[in-house]
């Protein structure tokens, strides 16, 4: 019996003499949760995102993970991702799960403003940091939320680079604008109207069309009557495809068609009719800012083409923010992390990143043009960017080869 008691006593002494870290379970991995639209209307825009994100985590983990000040060591990172089916309710459901069941350390936002608008409510409810990517609408950030930051510049400024180009060239005099009735475009296009007026363009037409509109004949007929030099359309890709097809059918010969979204599906569905269309993107090969070599390596290893998936750069800004946010944070506590995000001032992959008082960032679109079936960089013509090329005016439909 004495032996049993002695054994028990030594056992207790052993526990007491262990360092605190050994008793408290050491953090093995930093969990980052998010949803991806693997199915649904946005799926083709972000198809390779899981691969891109997991490859980023692999590359970070190859050097031991991210530095955590309070632990004085690097900790590997891991993503937990769910398919939100391009649906707001599903996105909310999975973000709730990520926080309550998977117990992630922070969240990365979903694709598009409508989904982010919904998903951010979860971050605010559970007081957990969320880094929003691919979400431009300032309505998301103007709700006074304390737990979100978003890397994109505010929606009304989306068109800044395009109108810099128009002003620089000074060729266009009139513009017609159309917005798909979606949270993002109801900010982006009115912002474009303001930008157009600022540089002295005559806004001859501005209208909003229901989301998912497929028949544009009344709109195009009205636009055609005004004979604008520029036609600016803010819409998701199916909306933009239908508009462009009918612009050709109705022989609407604006000198330039500009679309906010004109990724690979747009180009494929229109073929040669997409030629000389200009549109927005966040990155083109040849832009040399921040950790761009790491970004190239990431694209290479994940097999993602930046020209086919122009929003990949947006995600990289998110990765940059997460990396620097965690590495500059005092600890992985949510309060510390959030403060670190708000204090960030870094050079991200396509420019300087910091967040304003609402949490909205500084990533702004550039302008590209489809020339010879390829996306070509068009604007801004500044150091750090590739050589700019712009064909204006585009040939008439009857002359387009």
């Amino acid at each position: 019996m004495i032996l049993v008691w002695m054994f028990f006593l030594f056992f207790l002494l052993g526990i007491v003499s262990l360092p605190n870290e050994a008793i408290a379970q050491k953090k093995k991995v930093i969990l980052i949760g998010g949803t991806i639209s693997e199915t649904g209307r946005y799926a083709s825009d972000v198809k390779p995102w899981p691969k891109l994100m997991n490859t980023w985590a692999e590359m970070i983990n190859e050097r031991g993970g991210l530095w955590v000040k309070s632990e004085k060591r690097r900790i590997p990172v891991k993503f937990i991702l769910y398919d939100d089916k391009s649906d707001q309710a599903t996105s909310i459901k999975f973000y709730e799960r990520l926080v309550t069941v998977d117990k992630v350390d922070l969240l990365i936002g979903p694709y598009t403003s409508p989904l982010t608008f919904a998903a951010t409510t979860v971050a605010e409810k559970y007081k957990i940091p969320m880094v929003c990517v691919e979400a431009t609408a300032s309505a998301i950030y103007k709700r006074g939320m304390k737990w979100i930051v978003g890397i994109d510049q505010a929606g009304p400024k989306w068109s800044d680079a395009y109108f810099e180009l128009v002003r620089h060239e000074g060729k266009a005099k009139t513009i017609a604008l159309l917005a798909e009735d979606q949270i993002i475009f109801t900010e982006v296009v009115p912002g474009a109207v303001e930008n157009a007026k600022k540089i002295g363009l005559d806004v001859v037409f501005f209208e909003k069309a229901a989301s998912g509109t497929s028949d544009f004949s009344p709109i195009i007929t009205k636009m055609k009557e005004k004979n604008p030099d520029l036609c600016y359309v803010g819409g998701f890709i199916p909306f933009n495809i239908a508009f462009m097809k009918q612009a050709k059918e109705l022989d609407f010969n604006s000198k330039e068609f500009h679309f906010t979204h004109f990724g690979i599906s747009f180009k494929e569905a229109l073929g040669k009719d997409a030629e000389y269309v200009t549109g927005s993107a966040y990155y083109m090969p040849g832009m040399k800012f921040g950790n761009y070599k790491f970004f190239f390596e990431l694209l290479k290893r994940s097999g993602v083409s930046i020209t086919e998936y122009p929003w990949a750069n947006d995600r990289m800004w998110g990765f940059d923010a997460i990396q620097w946010g965690i590495e500059t944070s005092e600890s992985l506590k949510r309060d510390d992390l959030m403060q670190a995000f708000k204090d960030l001032h870094i050079m991200a992959v396509a420019g300087a990143l910091h967040f304003d008082e609402t949490g909205q960032g500084t990533n702004r679109p550039i302008v590209n043009q489809i020339i010879g079936g390829e996306y070509q960089f068009t604007w801004p013509a500044r150091p750090g960017y590739p050589p700019a090329k712009h064909v204006y005016p585009r040939p008439k439909w009857s002359e387009l080869k």
């Binding site: 649904g40 799926a43 209208e207 229901a210 007929t221 097809k245 599906s265 073929g271």
Partner: protein, 287 residues
């Protein structure tokens, strides 16, 4: 000139509406089956057309011929597995059961397609020149599609008027019990009617993907629109569907032009409410 252009555009738009709506109309009018999966057949037609175009690069008008056999077989299976088991009930029970069964079928088709296909939307890069007639632009592709639809309507009209099957379909529309008493094989005729109806939706899908773009998720919203056209034109009426499609197409275009584009999608629902209040059997339906 704007008005003429809008009416022309609406007319050409209405033709595409009419083709898909007629398929829904005969299933509803003849079989008492409200096929909620009708739009999914249109979506599958669009997807098949895209696949054939991507593989062979042939003219979309010939694609119609290529996909018809596929959809005859698919419609046959759908009818046999999902529609036939709900027969032999009262008319109300069949109608309610058909809504539930075909809604389930629609969701299944939608999700399986999205899962297997991977992409969320696409279109066929096929276009043609436009004709200018007195200042009005007439897209040649839409004109050809309308001509194709008119020809198809004419063929179906004669099939319904002249063939035994066509007459049997009309007999069932007029009086199901009477048709049974005179020896019409209701099961066989119902199957043929369903196959014709859904194949028409698939053909409409070919034109849809050429004119617009397609997504695996577009079916249900299209079904709702076509239901409005069917109610507007009258159940089971070929002419009614055609007229309903044209009326809706022209009205949407006029409202979009004079009132604002964001009002266009509501036109179908206003028309639905109005017709249900004033003439519940539809413009060309029988009481």
């Amino acid at each position: 000139m704007g008005f003429l252009q809008i009416v022309t555009s609406g007319l050409l738009l209405g033709g595409v509406y009419a083709l898909a709506a007629f398929g829904l109309s005969i299933c509803w009018g003849v079989l008492n089956i409200l096929n909620i999966a009708h739009g999914e057949f249109l979506m599958l037609g669009a997807l098949a057309a895209y696949g054939v175009y991507a593989l062979l690069g042939i003219n979309p008008f010939f694609i119609v011929l290529a996909i018809i056999p596929i959809f005859l077989a698919f419609s046959f299976l759908f009818e046999k597995l999902l529609i036939r088991p709900i027969r032999g009930r009262t008319e109300t029970e069949i109608l309610v059961a058909s809504i539930l069964v075909t809604l389930g079928g629609a969701l299944l088709i939608e999700d399986v397609t999205a899962f297997l296909w991977g992409k969320s939307f696409t279109g066929i890069p096929y276009s043609m020149i436009s004709l200018q007639v007195g200042g009005v632009v007439i897209p040649l592709i839409r004109l050809l599609i309308l001509a194709f639809i008119l020809a198809l309507t004419w063929v179906i009209h004669f099939y319904l008027k002249r063939s035994y099957t066509g007459k049997a379909i009309q007999a069932i529309t007029q009086n199901r019990e009477g048709a049974r008493i005179v020896g019409i094989n209701i099961i066989r005729i119902s199957m043929i009617t369903f196959i014709i109806g859904t194949s028409l939706a698939a053909i409409a899908g070919v034109f849809y993907v050429v004119l617009y773009s397609m997504t695996p998720y577009m079916g249900l919203s299209l079904t709702v629109k076509y239901m409005c056209i069917v109610v507007l034109g009258g159940l089971g009426s070929l002419f009614g569907s055609f007229a309903g499609g044209l009326i809706l197409g022209i009205t949407e275009s006029i409202i979009g032009y004079y009132v604002g584009s964001d009002w266009s999608p509501t036109v179908a629902f206003f028309a639905l409410v109005l017709i249900l209040l004033l003439r519940p059997q539809g413009l060309f339906g029988r009481k």
